[in-house]
């Protein structure tokens, strides 16, 4: 029983990782006042870029860089539309999702002729799991040993990066000049402008950070969690991350907890597939697959109190005529 539980938690960590990275990406963007519904598209683009380059070079790090580059490119399109040209941020984000979904399938088919997939990664093209020191030796120690060797050890580097990004994000937001300005520009861009800081450049930097983290999230899917890109492999994770962001009230630590919760549900769903539950019988797989979405709706419908977004989120900044 305990073993099963550890296993579920272990896969919770794996499943939460892309959500968490995307969620933090959205946090930077929205804290700066740029609503980003295009997390999904950026992840997908990055997953394809990483998968393709990972396959071609056989180097996971090159794949990661390619994923990040693709994602930043998409982020800059969003920035150009919504910051420079003051376009509607939702429309721009939706466009990026469509663009990514279409382009990855098209380019995948054209380049690799495998129905939109990239071929399986060669040796070295994928991030391997890292055994933490003494993990093998600790395996037999009850409880602590199991937690250490099963839960904490044996993940790939991107998982550790994702969880390290939580305190780093908190520190950046609340302990640095960049963070102070970032939060200010999402609340009252006019205050930032009159303080002599460029609103546009600040928001661009936030969007670029968002692109980087989305790039890591997407790369994780194709060159760490799996071995290669599959058409539409993000499967709505970007939207779940967005829900988690609201659920977390735009706070880094809450974001981690929210993503872990959604990851946990996912893990339980996989675990319970095809199993008989006492007294209920076999629960359809679809129910568990739908559970994160149902929970999101219920939680957002009022169980977590009012989620107050950054005041200027979604509003393009224009110097007002007085």
């Amino acid at each position: 029983m305990f073993d099963t539980f550890i296993l579920i938690l272990d896969s919770t960590v794996r499943l939460s990782t892309p959500l968490l990275l995307a969620c933090l990406a959205g946090l930077y963007s929205e804290r700066a006042g740029v609503v980003d519904i295009g997390l999904e598209g950026k992840m997908l683009g990055a997953a394809f870029g990483a998968g393709a380059v990972g396959y071609l070079t056989g180097n996971a790090w090159a794949g990661l860089l390619a994923g990040i580059a693709v994602s930043i490119g998409l982020a800059l399109i969003h920035g150009f539309a919504s910051i420079t040209n003051r376009g509607n941020q939702i429309v721009s984000g939706v466009a990026i999702n469509f663009l990514a979904a279409g382009l990855t399938a098209l380019l995948g088919q054209t380049w690799f002729r495998q129905g939109g997939r990239t071929p399986p990664l060669p040796e070295g093209g994928r991030f391997e799991n890292i055994e933490l020191p003494f993990a093998e030796a600790m395996r037999d120690v009850p409880l602590i040993g199991q937690i250490y060797s099963e839960l904490l050890s044996g993940h790939n580097i991107l998982v550790y990066i994702a969880f390290a990004a939580v305190p780093i994000t908190w520190w950046v937001l609340f302990r640095t000049r960049f963070g102070l300005r970032l939060r200010a520009v999402g609340e009252n861009p006019a205050a930032v402008d009159t303080a002599g800081i460029s609103v546009i450049w600040l928001r661009y930097r936030a969007v670029i950070v968002c692109g980087m983290l989305c790039g890591v999230a997407g790369s994780y899917l194709s060159i760490a969690q799996s071995s290669g890109f599959i058409t539409n492999m993000t499967a709505g994770k970007g939207f779940i991350a967005l829900a988690a962001l609201i659920f977390a009230k735009w706070q880094p630590l809450n974001a981690m907890l929210a993503c872990l919760l959604f990851g946990f549900l996912d893990a339980v769903a996989i675990r319970l597939q095809g199993q008989e539950l006492p007294g209920i019988g076999e629960v359809p797989v679809q129910f568990f697959q739908a559970l994160p979405y149902i929970l999101t709706v219920i939680l957002l419908a009022g169980f977590i109190g009012k989620a107050i977004p950054p005041k200027a989120a979604g509003v393009p900044y224009t110097k007002e005529r007085t």
Binding site: R175, T176, R177, F178, G179, L180, R181, R183, A184, E187, N188, A190, A191, V192, D193, T194, A195, G196, I197, S198, K311, K319, R321, T322
Partner: protein, 521 residues
Amino acid sequence: MNKPIPNSQLDAAAPVAIELRNINKRFGPVHANKDIDLVVRKGSIHGIIGENGAGKSTLMSILYGFYHADEGDILIDGQKVSIADSKAAISLGIGMVHQHFMLVDNFSVLENVVLGAEESARLAGGLDRARTELKRLEDEYELRVDPDALIQDLPVGLQQRVEILKALFRGADVLILDEPTGVLTPAEADHLFKILNVLKEEGKTVLLITHKLREIMAVTDTVSVMRRGEMVATKHTADTNMSELAELMVGRNVLLNVDKQPARPREKVLVVEGLNVTDSRGVRVVKDVSFDVKAGEIVGIAGVSGNGQTELMETIAGIRRATSGTLQIDGERIDLAKAAPSPAEMRDKNLAHVPEDRHRMGLVTSFAEYENAILGYHNAPEYSKGWLLDIAAIKQTAQAEIEKYDIRPPDPLLKTANFSGGNQQKIVLAREMERDPTVLLVGQPTRGVDIGAIEFIHKRLIEMRDAGKGILLVSVELDEIRSLADRILVMFDGNVVGERSPDADESELGLLMAGVDGDVT
């Protein structure tokens, strides 16, 4: 309180802190600043006065680098400078307290003060030093405020103090305050004036932007008057007085002659009693206002704009909520605080409203003329066929109004934005007047309208009056009020401070508008 502050630094020998030469700024067709020249001497409090929309804020925004002048030079301490953005202005020692505070509500006072002036990429040590510096400034200028309080928890008076501290923290030598007392209680305003005098004693130069004459007289050394984008005069405060300034602000217009017979007022059609209105910032903008309008008369409300006229009109029209007061219309008594009717319900009670700002409230400028011709009356049975609009009937109405009001070009399908200001105003007037109202509220009927249209609009208003309608007219043009109204109520600071006949002496009305010698104080 009219005692000007003695100042020995006012002689021409005192160094010039700021000089503006030939500043021009246009926003599309609006010439917001026209050939502005201004000299502000070091260590003085210089007032800039003018009505709302006279171009004061635009001028100061140019000085603060928020806007760029189309033409003109700015000299700081005798040096020609170019102020590309607010950062440049700050580094030249200019600080600005905006009319709408530029503060982040969920940040602490300290965070707001350091924003943009942080020492280094990491906040930690810099924040502590900023705290010490803030404490020093608080002591030096007697500007006490808790550095850890969140802005959203502070009253507006303290928020303003934070804005002043923000400017001082950045080393401002020149402090611009844009309408600083608009949101303050009288006691808070008095305290602000004390602060300004302390700043002056410390050698800072203060630019005070306001439309309130009292403040100019109470605190400034010199004053410049702006009207419609132009700088019309600069005077030593000690050498001028309120009525002269009021005259300069409003400007003397040629009295337009309106042909009219004496009014024959009949029964009361609109009675307002004990009306109080508080705006969204919690400031009382209409205070205990009571008056009535009779059928067959025009009651004019005079006053410098921003003294509660707009809010009064909007409340009667059902757009704004009152905190207390009653309204009697169409023989029905309504409690405006408890059972405030919607604008549509007011319209059903035969009250028509020509709003002051036709672009914001009177028209949907992207709609065709015929659509605007029935806006607000679109539910009336004559414009409907079942639950569909009767487009043919609507166009017929629009066409009739176009002819009657000589709206040009006479095309009901034309987008309203493509009509000139005067014709847009006529579209609104036609819509409201042709619905046969009992009471007509008219705000600024001829703002931005050319002379020919003004004459026509005035004639129509008199015709309406003679047809037995009760008309309440708000205008900042004193001459317009004097030539149209049968009775004049003067509003100042939310109060109706007096009622005069239109034959009253202009300077007497001017003083009332300036809040001097009112019946109520």
